[in-house]
């Protein structure tokens, strides 16, 4: 059986959840082989979720420059292993690596798949969630980026045999040097695109202080915090948390929209959430069209009550 290469996304030595989702999807296409670029990564979860092989490339050259060295590493593995496909997370960097790898290997690329079947047919949701398309790659090695939360990761223990690979990074790939990494305060909340639950606030939150109510609800649920563009543009919440067409696309199990009207550009980023709860004082707000459960009311009444209720039920 051919291998399916899965690029591992990791932070602080820990494998991110999306990687386990990719390994789960990879099983249908062949034998999952995880590719770890970087050092000090705990590879145990990779074996647990189905990686028969784990290729580890550790040289500093690979992470000191923007994107291109990672393309070198994957291109080398594609030529050595002739995999059935390469799966990457649909993060900003994952997509850039995928695009360049497609050129390097004369292959086609599909980004933002939400599903892949055994024939390699990918499902995508486009135009802000309005249309579902199915497509496949017809040339070269299929290179596919997959959105977080597209499948539930399933444990499937495999050998997880670690193989160190040495990659020669070409001079051409050392042109954009990372001179400094600035980690902004992140706190304890999960990352927006990976989170199983997202609690968002919009203009209705009224100001920076209002977001305390949103954060308290998020914390009661172990959720990430999102925001509409109205809220990020006003400077009430950091830009990285913007959900929508020009922000992040999220697809959590539960999305709670508070004080958000539901403009098409916002919906484009959250429409595929599995369950949607809405709190808005305007009964005509278009966001209610998406709601599985909607409350017409003041978020400053409803949200704190909900938070308290969740906390007390937990306790």
């Amino acid at each position: 059986m051919s291998e399916v290469l899965v690029l591992v996304e990791h932070e602080d030595g820990k494998v991110k959840k999306v990687t386990l989702e990719l390994l789960t999807l990879a099983q249908q296409l062949g034998e999952p082989a995880a590719v770890v670029i970087g050092s000090g990564v705990d590879t145990a979860p990779l074996a647990e979720y189905g990686a028969a092989k784990i290729y580890v490339a550790e040289s500093a050259d690979l992470t000191d420059y923007v994107v291109a060295p990672k393309v070198d590493a994957l291109a080398q593995l594609v030529s050595e292993k002739s995999p059935a496909a390469v799966l990457l997370p649909s993060s900003a960097e994952g997509k850039e690596i995928a695009g360049r790898l497609a050129l390097r290997t004369d292959s086609g690329v599909i980004t933002d798949a939400v599903g892949i079947d055994a024939e390699g047919i990918c499902t995508k949701v486009i135009f802000g969630g309005a249309i579902i398309v199915k497509g496949k790659i017809v040339e070269g090695t299929p290179i596919i980026t997959v959105r977080p939360n597209s499948v539930a990761p399933e444990a499937s223990p495999a050998a997880g045999e670690v193989e160190q690979v040495s990659v020669s990074v070409s001079d051409a790939s050392k042109k954009a040097k990372i001179t400094n990494r600035v980690i902004e305060e992140k706190g304890e909340r999960p990352e927006l695109v990976e989170a199983a639950i997202v609690v968002s606030g919009g203009r209705g939150v009224g100001g920076e202080e209002g977001f305390a109510v949103i954060e308290a609800l998020a914390d009661s649920l172990g959720a990430a915090v999102g925001a509409s563009r109205a809220a990020t543009d006003a400077g009430w919440y950091p830009h990285q948390h913007q959900v929508g067409q020009t922000g992040k696309t999220v697809s959590p199990n539960l999305y709670i929209a508070n004080g958000i009207s539901g403009a098409i550009q916002h919906r484009a980023g959250m429409q595929t959430s599995k369950t949607i709860v809405v709190v808005n004082k305007d009964p005509e707000a278009p966001i209610f069209e998406l709601a599985d459960f909607g409350v017409v009311g003041d978020l400053f009444q409803v949200v704190p009550q909900l938070t308290e209720e969740i906390n007390s039920r937990k306790g």
């Binding site: 932070e11 923007v66 994107v67 291109a68 393309v71 993060s91 960097e93 850039e96 695009g99 360049r100 390097r104 690329v109 980004t111 047919i121 486009i126 969630g129 309005a130 249309i131 579902i132 398309v133 199915k134 497509g135 496949k136 790659i137 042109k175 954009a176 040097k177 990372i178 001179t179 990494r181 600035v182 980690i183 902004e184 990352e191 830009h239 020009t246 539960l254 098409i264 550009q265 369950t275 949607i276 709190v279 009964p283 209610f288 069209e289 998406l290 709601a291 599985d292 459960f293 909607g294 409350v295 017409v296 003041d298 009444q301 409803v302 009550q305 909900l306 308290e308 209720e309 969740i310």
Partner: protein, 255 residues
């Protein structure tokens, strides 16, 4: 400093977008086109760099006849000249073909910087800038929330989930910008009048590379409108709205 800025025409976000039944590509004729919003930030950044360093800004777009409007808009904002790549053979190009066409048009023209938006709002792939960097063998300075140019040294802040990376390279280089980098200017009346006299050249697809739908390495097999969501429950808050949401979440096993 010679700067190219790549601008794409996309359907107006408010318009209902459709795929054509015959070839399953975006039907671009039936909807109003606008400049991809993120490309306005790219044009603004190009103009700011030009204003600080002297030089010229060339707006480049690949697209059907109508896409000329988007090149014109860049000229109205202040770009000095425009190139519109228009060719029937380009219809249905995928990201690979788009990147190859742009790269072939930009190659060997003496550009110090080639600036892109970080994403088109229709394709939403965020791959074209990285691909052009690959094809032209130039440093990739993408997802920039800040750009500083000092002689031939270019430094950016590359936006990431954790914060940002500082990245350094020398010109010529490829840059893509994110929304928070600047505040795009509106074309002034003077700008609109001046744009009428600025050179805007239409060029055919560069030869040598297969492009268009026939060359696409991806094939769309089928598409369908997403079924509308079944209507949910909607209640008025009577003072117990929060409790009722909690009941719903418990019922759905979400808490």
């Amino acid at each position: 400093m010679k700067i190219a800025v790549c601008v794409k025409q996309v359907p107006d976000t408010w318009a209902e977008k459709k795929l054509s039944d015959s070839d399953k590509t975006l039907d671009r004729e039936s909807v109003d086109g606008v400049m991809n919003e993120l490309d306005e930030y790219a044009v603004e950044e190009a103009l700011l760099i030009k204003e600080a360093n002297d030089g010229e800004v060339v707006a480049v777009s690949m697209g059907p006849d109508k896409a000329e409007e988007t090149v014109r808009k860049a000229l109205q904002m202040g770009a000095d000249s425009g190139i519109h790549i228009v060719d029937d053979s380009l219809a249905g190009s995928d990201s690979v073909a788009t990147a190859k066409t742009l790269a072939a048009t930009l190659k060997d023209q003496g550009y110090d910087l080639i600036i892109f938006g970080s994403e088109s709002t229709d394709a939403r792939m965020s791959v074209v800038p990285a691909m052009v960097a690959e094809l032209l063998d130039l440093p990739q300075l993408t997802f920039a929330s800040k750009v500083s140019v000092d002689g031939d040294a270019v430094t950016i802040q590359r936006q990431a989930d954790y914060g940002y990376d500082e990245v350094q390279a020398s010109t010529p280089a490829v840059i893509s910008v994110v929304e928070k980098i600047n505040e795009p200017r509106y074309p002034s009346f003077k700008g609109i009048m001046a744009a009428k006299k600025k050179p805007l050249e239409s060029v055919a697809a560069p030869s040598g590379e297969p492009v268009g739908l026939a060359s696409a390495r991806t094939e769309i097999l089928e598409f369908a409108e997403r079924p509308p969501k079944a209507a949910g429950v909607k209640i008025e808050d009577d003072g117990t709205g929060g409790v009722k949401v909690a009941d719903f979440l418990a019922e759905q096993k979400l808490i």
